[in-house]
């Protein structure tokens, strides 16, 4: 892919219910913040990509109504929706548009307003013949996969609870985060209500209202920015079998994420991800998922994810801070969650992450994940290609 960079990011305050704004107004908050961050105006935007999972709000084509919130009037604008990966897919669509030579500057905005719909109803609208009755929704899918993962890799409930604590404590330093729980303990997580064995309430992500945006610039425009550009060095996607029975031991193998990561690392010249990445924003909808991602992303060998979290390797002061923002476990407006990963990774490279900034971050990883193990992997650097 031709070189492109992220030159600005913006997010709303994410919360359980943003009753103070409509969907277009929510989008406008993030879009205007991203433009301000990039120091450009609406007229500088050539094209807009929207990300949203419309069935969660029970709607169709939400960008038709809400697109003007993203300054899309009179501009090329499409909506990308690929489930949990919608946000990262939309970012990659924006990357491709900016790298195509047709557009100089592309605005990508992801949003979800779960409070206006019924998320579990949306999650249940899977294949009506086979999966709808037995495997719809995130909880059942995760509970099955996680049980297999725990059995094979020696991960414990305590390991997972440590991930949940890390996320919510990191979120306390992120003013935009939904769940900010600076005093959360492992015991609190283990004592929280059991949703589906072995998943406790605090092992799972919340449903949030929120929006996030990034401004993507062509090489020519980004180069004029000097150091104020986060360069995209690789962006890869792998989708996988959707049927539960067709992909045995989904969380154990995570072949889509492994393959996407390997392809991205090869393209970006990453050979030792734990040491070479300065920060990672990975899409972990459940505490156990983050542990599985450590292995699939090559941060450690198989079976060592528990050691990584226990030894603090992925804590803010560890070798590779994972999800300084608090991650999906703290904030999850689904259509925006992938955009948030890219926005956070970009903000870290631009030195604009505020209280959760990792000092001197120069190489960053962002990932997207969907229930069917669909995976996006994005590698970014401050260094120009």
């Amino acid at each position: 892919m031709n070189p492109i960079a992220v030159i600005g990011t913006g997010q709303t305050k994410h919360s359980k219910a943003r009753l103070d704004v409509s969907q277009p107004e929510l989008i406008r908050e993030a879009a205007s913040a991203a433009l301000q961050d990039a120091d450009i105006g609406p007229d500088d935007i050539d094209a807009v990509v929207i990300s949203n999972m419309e069935m969660f709000e029970g709607r169709a084509f939400p960008e038709l109504w809400a697109g003007e919130g993203a300054y899309a009037f009179g501009k090329p604008c499409v909506k990308v929706a690929t489930g949990g990966t919608s946000g990262t897919s939309a970012c990659i669509a924006g990357f491709h548009q900016a790298a195509s030579g047709e557009f100089d500057t592309v605005l990508v905005v992801g949003f979800e307003k779960h409070s206006e719909g019924h998320t579990q109803t949306g999650m249940a609208l899977v294949d009506p013949f086979w999966d709808r009755a037995v495997a719809s929704g995130a909880l059942g899918n995760f509970a099955l996969s996680i049980s297999q993962y725990m059995a094979e890799r020696g991960v414990t409930e305590e390991h997972a609870a440590q991930v949940a604590v890390k996320a919510r404590r990191n979120a306390a330093n992120n003013p935009n985060a939904h769940l900010q729980m600076p005093d959360l303990t492992v015991d609190d997580v283990l004592a929280s209500r059991m949703l589906a064995e072995p998943l406790h309430l605090l092992d799972m992500c919340p449903q949030s209202d929120g929006a996030a945006a990034i401004v993507v610039a062509s090489e020519e425009t980004a180069r004029r920015r000097g150091s104020q550009a986060a360069w995209v060095r690789a962006a890869t996607t792998r989708h996988d079998q959707p049927y539960l029975g067709d992909l045995d031991r989904r969380l154990v193998t995570m072949r889509a994420l492994r393959d996407a990561a390997q392809a991205a690392y090869t393209r970006a010249g990453i050979t030792d991800p734990l040491r070479e990445f300065d920060i990672a924003e990975i899409y972990e909808p459940a505490s156990y998922a983050e542990l599985a991602w450590y292995e699939a992303l090559g941060f450690c060998k198989e079976g060592e994810a528990g050691r990584l979290i226990t030894e603090g390797v992925t804590a803010m002061d560890g070798e590779l801070p994972v999800n300084p923002s608090g991650g999906v476990l703290s904030t999850n407006p689904v259509g925006a969650s992938g955009v948030i990963r890219v926005a956070e990774a970009s903000a870290q490279l631009l030195g604009r992450a505020g209280a959760h900034q990792v000092a001197g971050a120069a190489t960053a990883l962002a990932t997207g994940y969907g229930v069917y193990a669909w995976s996006d992997v994005i590698v970014m650097r401050t260094e120009k290609p």
Partner: protein, 355 residues
């Protein structure tokens, strides 16, 4: 940047579409598999030659969340890059053009699918209207089309008959379509469904799928090479009161972008064939005006959408027809058009040239 170079070399390598049926008894996946296999055969490619897939579908129309999940396997996207544009299939094709022009992939499969038979299509479209000011009034894409037609008709008492003539002509021209054939008088006597639009004036909606393979360079087949020389898309205002419904300003902007890219300075003489996505006869005049095509351009030689169409596939099907036109020596250049949303709020065009 040089917009004329940005998509240079993106070819239409092959494609296929199902005959529109109401209903098509096959599942979404079966319909998609059918067109993908035939598109690969048409392009003389194997599954392994495809680098990435872009699909087009609309969740609410399919009754599925992330409805691309329903076709992941049959479009060959397992362990491959796939993305989905939730709009008309031509917008998905334009995203594929961007992927290729970006240097991300060489060969991209574009698949659109939709089934109007599974629900009352127009009722579903009300869920795409502003839920605060418009949806509570019962407004949907059909009622906005009626408003648009009424504004255009104004006090011109003869225009309704001309629309009836056009609809009857297009339906007679359509080959293998699902719509009933109407005489002009029958069109004028058919029930009003959104005044002044009558049932006989509408392009019939059914179930269908369409697949097109795009590639960097190449594309030399028996019929020569068909290159996508320019693309453009646009999103107009949502509220009917916020724009002039008597024109398709969004299409005009989309065409300007595509013509700029293709180096077209006078669209009136540029196209041998145009394949508009018009569901109602009043839209054809809006298309001609916004695209600026002239009298020498043959519109919808196969009857266009009046042969029948399905949600999300129209524009991709038009791209396929435009490609066949330039490869079949109907002329050097053709224009494909897709639209989505109320009264053409979303617009997309692609300029296809024989090389």
């Amino acid at each position: 940047m040089n917009r004329q170079q940005s998509t240079d070399g993106v070819s239409v390598l092959g494609g296929a579409e199902t005959a529109i049926a109401l209903p098509d008894p096959r599942s979404i996946a079966e319909m998609a598999l059918n067109v993908v296999e035939r598109a690969l055969e048409d392009a003389e490619l194997r599954w392994s030659d495809i680098d990435a897939v872009v699909t087009a579908s609309v969740d609410l129309f399919d009754g599925l969340t992330a409805s691309s999940i329903a076709v992941t396997e049959v479009v060959g996207a397992v362990m491959k890059p796939e993305t989905r544009i939730a709009a008309d299939g031509l917008a998905a094709a334009i995203q594929a053009v961007h992927q290729i022009a970006a240097g991300a992939y060489d060969t991209v499969l574009v698949v659109a699918h939709g089934k109007a038979s599974m629900a009352h299509h127009w009722n579903l479209t009300s869920w795409a209207m502003d839920p605060i000011f418009l949806q509570p009034l019962g407004v949907d894409f059909l009622t906005v089309a009626g408003l648009q037609a009424d504004l255009i008709a104004g006090s011109d008492s003869s225009i309704i008959r001309r629309w009836a003539e056009l609809a009857a002509h297009r339906k007679r021209t359509a080959r293998g379509g699902i719509g009933e054939s109407f005489t002009i008088d029958e069109v004028l006597e058919s029930p009003v469904i959104a005044a002044p639009i009558r049932v006989g004036m509408c392009a019939p909606l059914g179930d269908g799928a369409c697949a097109v393979v795009l590639g960097a360079g190449g594309g030399e087949t028996t019929g020569g090479r068909a290159v996508i020389a320019g693309t453009g898309h646009d999103l107009d205002s949502h509220h009917p009161g916020d724009r002039d419904l008597t024109e398709w300003a969004g299409l005009r902007r989309a065409c300007l972008r595509a013509y700029d890219m293709a180096g077209i300075t006078d669209p009136a003489v540029a196209f041998a064939v145009a394949e508009p996505s018009c569901l109602f006869p009043h839209e054809e005049a809006l298309f001609i005006d916004a695209a600026g095509v002239g009298e020498q351009t043959v519109l919808s030689p196969d009857g266009g959408l009046f042969a029948g169409t399905a949600p999300a596939i129209s524009g991709l099907g038009r791209l396929l027809r435009a490609t066949k036109a330039v490869k079949g020596n109907s002329g050097h250049r053709a224009l494909a058009h897709g639209t989505w949303g109320p009264a053409g709020q979303g617009q997309a065009v692609a300029v296809v040239e024989a090389r």
